[in-house]
């Protein structure tokens, strides 16, 4: 950690070198990892999506200090959006609508045409990503609005409730009009196409993607897309952090009343934090849906919200490199465990004594408890600014001055 620094403000040269080194490593990774099997790259694909989520949540929790326990809802919004607009699901929706209200249904069918009635809507990724960002952002502002006067524990409870509401909606919005296909989830979501190349590989190619004559496994193609989105997210969030707006967020986190008195319209600025954070969640969700080809309400439970929050807290709340590290560790850990722990036990004892899933929960909890005891600011917190050589002494002086 000491070797890498991403403090562009104070050590620009070292930060650039570190970034180049990490980027080079990330670019080489899939080619090396796919030698050992596609599943390793797949793990990192998912981890990259979680990093995007964690970075989005970091805007809300880390910068603006608004504890959001329902963040996974925006991930769900993105995923279901691609489910609805890039799969045969829209045809099912129209069908149920015709059954429920023939006039409205017929009118909509006439509006969309017969092809959509049979095959559903199939928007391209270039339309879905902005749409996901927009709709999730709106949802973020909408769910943020009633919570503006709440702080701390109360805010956490309300956002937790909202998160559950969204999940339950997804679970039940299949009747009378079939929006989400209920607990079965939406299937056959189109894979992402970039410049006409399907990242899932064309039919009969055995999952290989042909890019300009060079073939790579599908997971690698997705890897590069997600890596690009992650870098874009890091870029945007760090620019936001070091701006007038980012300062306003931190000011609200530090002291809301003082922030108001300094002329910050805390209502608007907080809503913006909710909306910006949610839009990254929405984009990550859309990617998740298209990558998996399938979404169901199960993927968006409270535990997922907590997992994303744990990434932010474990890594270093409010510090972008820390959040990335936390996301990488906590997203990859369970998968790595699954690949390592059970075969290892099988080899050692001839049977699986502790299942990987159980061990994961245990390690999650242990990791959080340990980090809170040892370093509450996270594994990789923001580098402290110039401080007195002895912070304790400064504290004593301060106390003395008050007395």
């Amino acid at each position: 950690m000491a070797l890498l620094t991403f403090d562009l403000q104070h050590k620009p040269r070292q930060a650039r070198i570190s970034m180049a080194a990490v980027l080079a490593l990330m670019l080489v990774f899939p080619f090396v990892a796919s030698q050992f099997g596609n599943s390793w790259v797949r793990i990192i694909d998912i981890a990259l999506l979680y990093i995007m989520l964690a970075l989005g949540l970091n805007i809300v929790v880390g910068f603006a200090g608004l504890l959001d326990l329902g963040y996974i809802a925006f991930f769900a919004v993105g995923a279901y959006l691609v489910g609805l607009f890039a799969s045969p699901q829209f045809a099912a929706l129209l069908e149920s609508l015709i059954y429920y209200s023939p006039t409205l249904g017929e009118w909509l069918v006439a509006l969309f045409g017969p092809e959509i009635q049979q095959k559903g809507i199939h928007l391209s990724v270039w339309a879905v990503v902005p749409l996901a960002a927009l709709v999730a952002g709106l949802a973020g502002a909408l769910l943020g609005a009633p919570t503006l006067k709440l702080r701390g524990d109360y805010l956490a409870i309300v956002t937790l409730g909202f998160g559950e509401i969204i999940r339950i909606f997804m679970n039940n919005l299949n009747d009378p009009i079939n929006f989400t296909n209920g607990p079965q989830g939406i299937n056959m979501i189109d894979p992402i196409r970039v410049f006409g190349v399907s990242l899932a590989g064309e039919q009969g190619s055995g999952g290989m993607v042909d890019i300009g004559g060079y073939a790579m496994p599908s997971v690698n193609a997705y890897y590069f897309l997600f890596l690009f989105l992650c870098i874009a997210t890091i870029f945007i969030t760090s620019r936001l952090q070091h701006s007038r707006l980012g300062r306003a967020w931190v000011a609200i986190r530090e002291d809301e009343i003082a922030a108001k008195a300094m002329g910050i319209n805390t209502r608007n600025v907080k809503l913006l934090a909710f909306a910006m954070g949610a839009s990254f969640g929405g984009v990550a969700g859309a990617m998740f849906g298209a990558f998996q080809g399938f979404v169901s309400p199960e993927s968006f439970s409270l535990t997922e919200s907590i997992a994303v929050l744990a990434m932010v807290v474990l890594g270093g709340i409010g510090h972008i490199p820390g959040v990335v590290l936390g996301g990488m560790l906590l997203a990859a850990l369970p998968e790595v465990l699954r690949h390592v722990v059970e075969p290892a036990q099988q080899a050692l004892f001839g049977t699986v004594i502790i299942e990987a899933e159980v061990l994961r929960q245990l390690l999650y909890g242990l990791a959080l408890v340990l980090i809170m005891l040892v370093n509450p600011a996270g594994l990789w917190p923001s580098p402290n600014r110039e401080e007195r050589p002895n912070a304790a002494l400064a504290h004593d002086e301060q106390e003395g001055a008050k007395a």
């Binding site: 701006s243 007038r244 707006l245 931190v250 000011a251 008195a261 300094m262 002329g263 319209n265």
Partner: protein, 257 residues
């Protein structure tokens, strides 16, 4: 000294449940003056302050700043109208550097949003540079320029008070409202604070000041308003206030009957 009235507030009433905290309180402040607001503990000074700056909603009252009515319905609107304040118990943004604290104060006078933050086009870069330069200038002005990069919570108590004043000045206020800026200061720090306030006055700013230290107030203020039990009991020059029967009674208690 011009006699133009900057702040004109009249007929403020504020009730908390069964307690009438302010009864028909008003204040008139001429531009460029330092005006003191004094009174025994619990007289309603801070309540009046919070009403003026929009933190509390008054039950009634008229509010004018610079000849124009302003609405004290939201603190950020008041800051925009041109009143900046500090707090009795210091409220800095503790984890931010001293410079960033003052930069936040520029928020209300600047305008770059999400787009400017992400793309950093020319206007955004210029504005950011101007914010930074002005913030440093204000830190130098209050005398803590050398601590610009220090985390606010690690500053000494006196410097934290100065930082709060610098942050308030960053909003380009017409009126600077200070709630007990000398609280907890020793004699030397008070002297330095006094110098700073005179310096601010000489810049043409108007200052409204709550303070307990009568010695400090008498030498510094152009006029003084006295509150007791939520009512104004006196208003005048410091020398008049010093001799005012009602004020003496409020502070020392009346003679035994």
């Amino acid at each position: 000294m011009s006699s133009e009235i900057l702040l004109d507030i009249a007929g403020v009433n504020k009730r908390f449940g069964g307690l009438q905290a302010l009864t028909d309180v008003g204040i008139r402040i001429a531009r460029g003056q330092i005006v003191g607001l004094i009174g025994p503990n619990g007289a309603g000074k801070t309540t009046f302050f919070n009403v003026i700056t929009g933190l509390y909603q008054p039950d009634s009252g008229t509010f004018q700043l610079g000849g124009k009515p302003y609405s004290p319905s939201a603190p950020h609107e008041v800051a925009k109208a041109g009143i900046a304040r500090t707090f009795q118990n210091i409220r800095l943004f503790g984890e931010m550097s001293a410079l960033e604290n003052v930069m936040v104060g520029r928020h209300v006078r600047t305008r770059q949003g999400v787009f400017g933050a992400i793309f950093r086009h020319k206007a955004a870069r210029l504005e950011e540079a101007a914010i930074r330069a002005r913030a440093q200038e204000l830190l130098d002005f209050v005398g803590i320029g050398q601590f610009a990069q220090r985390t606010a919570k690690y500053l000494s108590y006196g410097d934290q008070r100065r930082l709060e004043i610098a942050r308030a000045l960053a909003t380009d206020p017409q009126l600077l409202a200070l709630d007990e800026p000398a609280a907890g200061m020793n004699a030397t720090e008070k002297l330095a604070l006094r110098e700073l306030l005179v310096k601010i006055k000489n810049e043409g700013k108007t200052v409204l000041l709550i303070e307990h230290d009568v010695k400090l107030m008498m030498g510094l203020c152009d006029r003084i308003t006295v509150l007791e039990y939520g009512k104004q009991i006196a208003e005048g020059l410091p020398s008049e206030i010093q001799k005012n029967e009602a004020v003496i009674k409020a502070y020392l208690g009346g003679a035994h009957e």
